[in-house]
């Protein structure tokens, strides 16, 4: 099958003219040189086959939305070309330019017309739009009284009323509640089975990993990475880490407290691929700490780490004492220590706190306590999926012999 979408060397420049009249003269055939050109998208190429889901990630201002606008055709590319095959359904930003004074029904009818459907087709689709949006009697009320979530429900129901060959969703789904998101993903999956492609922009790395076959990472208007979801997410996080180069200072614990005989100079996490995160649930991750001893004599110390979730709850803590190790730091020397962790945590955001102290308890003599030294994200799963914070590594089996006995006992109890 041929591709639904081919994007070839796409670029977008915003042109400024010394006077706008120069631009007008340009339309009449007298090409003038613009005074300034500002390229926001540079040389992006990719293709999307039927049934394929391609994700686009990148920080704010990386050019994702501009790229999508050129693909849908609301913006005209300054360089390169877009080849579309089939009908595109797109939710760019939020809503579809709904009119606030008109009812949901009138807006739905209007938006479907805007997508080029005939009156007959629209009347057929409306009941189905109403049913999918599930906004009840609000469907007959003006859109100005809608919450943003309700607007998004209506927008999604309208755009997907007819199966588009290519569906483009720009972060819109993040507005909906969990129930509706599920419903949207369900519909997207069924479209995909029927041969639709999906182009998906999101900041939710979890959703991207779950949904996408391929991911483009955008940075400063360029596609800096194109490949499978997992390595793309890793690449993206490295990018973000570089963005916050100053935040490297945050990794050096100038926060924290302690008596200062020994210090944690810096800390970092290493995934299986040497990546700094995000990690998949169940991935082997090393928590590494660089330690420095400032005393004149060797110092016996206990070093510990503590993982907390985003609510600040302790999830897992351990130290060398518990592990039966003793660490001796040499004066004036830097030493790197490593905790190999089986990171079997549910998807979410976590922090890692590290501490150096004299005894197994940090209140005895705490050399250095670095609170929330590192933060990291767990996204996606290595191995079977689960819900909750902790992966308890369940195995399932059916005990054939005992099963009958158990049900017998159960039956007897009911009779009594």
């Amino acid at each position: 099958m041929s591709a639904l979408l081919v994007v070839n060397g796409l670029g977008k420049a915003y042109r400024q003219y010394s006077s706008e009249w120069q631009r007008v003269l340009g339309w009449l055939g007298l090409r003038r040189k613009p005074a300034a050109e500002h390229w926001v998208i540079n040389d992006v190429s990719f293709a999307l086959a039927p049934g394929e889901v391609v994700g686009i990630i990148g920080h704010n201002g990386a050019g994702k939305s501009t790229l999508l606008k050129m693909i849908t055709g609301t913006l005209h590319p300054s360089a390169g070309e877009v080849h579309r095959h089939g009908r595109i359904g797109a939710i760019l930003e939020l809503g579809l330019g709904f009119h606030p004074e008109l009812t949901g029904r009138a807006n739905a009818r209007h938006a479907l017309g805007l997508m080029g459907f005939s009156g007959e087709e629209i009347e057929q689709a409306l009941p189905q739009v109403e049913a999918f949006a599930e906004i009840g009697e609000y469907f007959e009320q003006p859109v100005r009284v809608y919450s943003s979530g309700m607007q998004m429900r209506l927008a999604f129901a309208v755009v997907t009323a007819f199966r588009p060959d290519l569906l483009i969703v720009d972060e819109a789904l993040s507005v909906g509640d969990a129930y509706f998101q599920q419903k949207c993903f369900e519909r997207i999956r069924s479209f995909r089975k029927a041969g639709s492609g999906l182009l998906f922009v999101s900041h939710d790395l979890n959703a991207v990993k779950l949904l996408c076959d391929r991911v483009l990472v955008m940075d400063h208007g360029r596609c800096v990475f194109q490949g499978e979801a997992e390595p793309a997410a890793v690449f993206y996080n490295q990018l973000i880490a570089r963005l916050s180069e100053d935040a490297a200072a945050a990794m050096a614990p100038d926060t924290g407290f302690g008596t200062g005989e020994a210090r944690i100079v810096r800390g970092w996490l290493e995934g299986e691929l040497g990546n700094p995160g995000p990690f998949a649930a169940g991935e082997r991750v090393d928590a590494c700490l660089e330690l420095q001893c400032d005393t004149a004599t060797p110092l016996q110390t206990t070093v510990g780490i503590l993982v907390r979730d985003r609510f600040g709850q302790d999830i897992y803590g351990v130290n060398t004492e518990y592990l039966g190790n003793v660490l001796e730091l040499q004066p004036g020397q830097q030493q790197t220590v490593r905790f190999a962790l089986n990171l079997n945590l549910g998807p979410g955001k976590y922090t890692l706190t590290a501490a150096l102290h004299s005894q197994d308890h940090h209140l005895e003599a705490c050399y250095h306590w670095a609170d929330a030294l590192l933060s990291f994200e767990v996204a996606g799963f290595r191995g079977p999926r689960f819900v909750g914070l902790a992966g308890l590594g369940a195995h399932f089996s059916v005990d054939a012999a005992a099963e009958q006995a158990a049900s017998l006992i159960y039956a007897e109890r009911i009779e009594n």
């Binding site: 760019l92 004074e101 017309g113």
Partner: protein, 264 residues
């Protein structure tokens, strides 16, 4: 040109529902609803009639009666209101719809079609009330009323051509939006709507011929006030000018279409 027409036909449902929504949205939450559509121009006619009928009534050659001046005034107003609405809304057409243009890819040609449809609906309400008024005071123009069809066509073509051209330019040069109402204000007073050409100094009268709206308004007045066929020469000239403007506007729209969403 052919592309424009094909697109317009494909999006006919959108164009029709937009015209409908336009009216519905404008009068949502208004107790009187669509009546306001007629009340605005009628109020204008009433003001001028009250203030000025004493001044001008005597100068209406061959027309007498208490309503003579009101009849004259209404005829010119019918033409001007439609023209002014097309120009004022036309120059804001793309800016007002910027949100839509940035979010959804649809043929831009729909917008001027929606505008002319909605302006025509607005003004036909006024025209119906005006014609009812003529019939009531015994000044029904008879079969000559059919002249209104080509006359309205000329107004729409001219107003739309000018409005669309200004609309495209206004996206890039926003001063146009500020300038248009001022120009329209002058234009209104330089067109014999509330006065007659005959009251102007003899030296100024020939210059009136350079005002396209003069010919249009004169046409309306010929049919509705003096019950004669309009002078075709002037009207043909305006029609030609209108087609030229329309062509230029469409050319600009096609050329500017690519850049429009960039600056909205």
């Amino acid at each position: 040109m052919k592309g424009f027409l094909i697109n317009a036909w494909r999006y006919r449902q959108f164009i029709l529902s937009s015209i409908q929504n336009d009216l519905r949205a404008r009068f949502a939450r208004n107790a009187l609803g669509g009546i306001w559509m007629v009340l605005h121009p009628l109020a204008q006619v009433a003001v001028f009639a009250l203030v000025l009928s004493g001044v001008f009534a005597a100068r209406l050659g061959g027309l007498e009666g208490p309503f003579a001046y009101a009849i004259y005034l209404t005829a010119g107003t019918m033409a001007w209101t439609l023209f002014a609405e097309l120009v004022t809304r036309g120059q804001m057409l793309f800016i007002d719809n910027g949100n839509l243009l940035k979010k959804i890819a649809f043929p831009k040609i729909c917008l001027p079609l929606i505008l002319s449809g909605s302006a025509l609906v607005n003004n036909s309400a006024l025209a119906l009330v005006a014609l009812a008024f003529y019939a009531l005071v015994g000044h029904w123009p008879g079969w000559l009323v059919l002249w209104l069809v080509p006359l309205y066509a000329v107004v729409v073509a001219f107003g739309l051509g000018l409005g669309l051209l200004l609309g495209v330019l206004n996206v890039f040069i926003r001063d146009i939006g500020q300038m248009t109402p001022i120009v329209l204000q002058f234009w209104f007073w330089f067109t014999p709507i509330i006065y007659m050409t005959s009251i102007l100094p003899a030296g100024a009268q020939p210059w009136m011929r350079f005002n396209p709206m003069f010919h249009v308004v004169e046409g309306f007045q010929a049919v509705l006030v003096f019950k004669t066929a309009p002078a075709l020469g002037g009207l043909m000239m305006v029609a030609g000018l209108a087609l030229g403007l329309m062509g230029l506007a469409l050319w600009c729209l096609r050329a500017a279409g690519q850049e429009m969403a960039d600056v909205l």
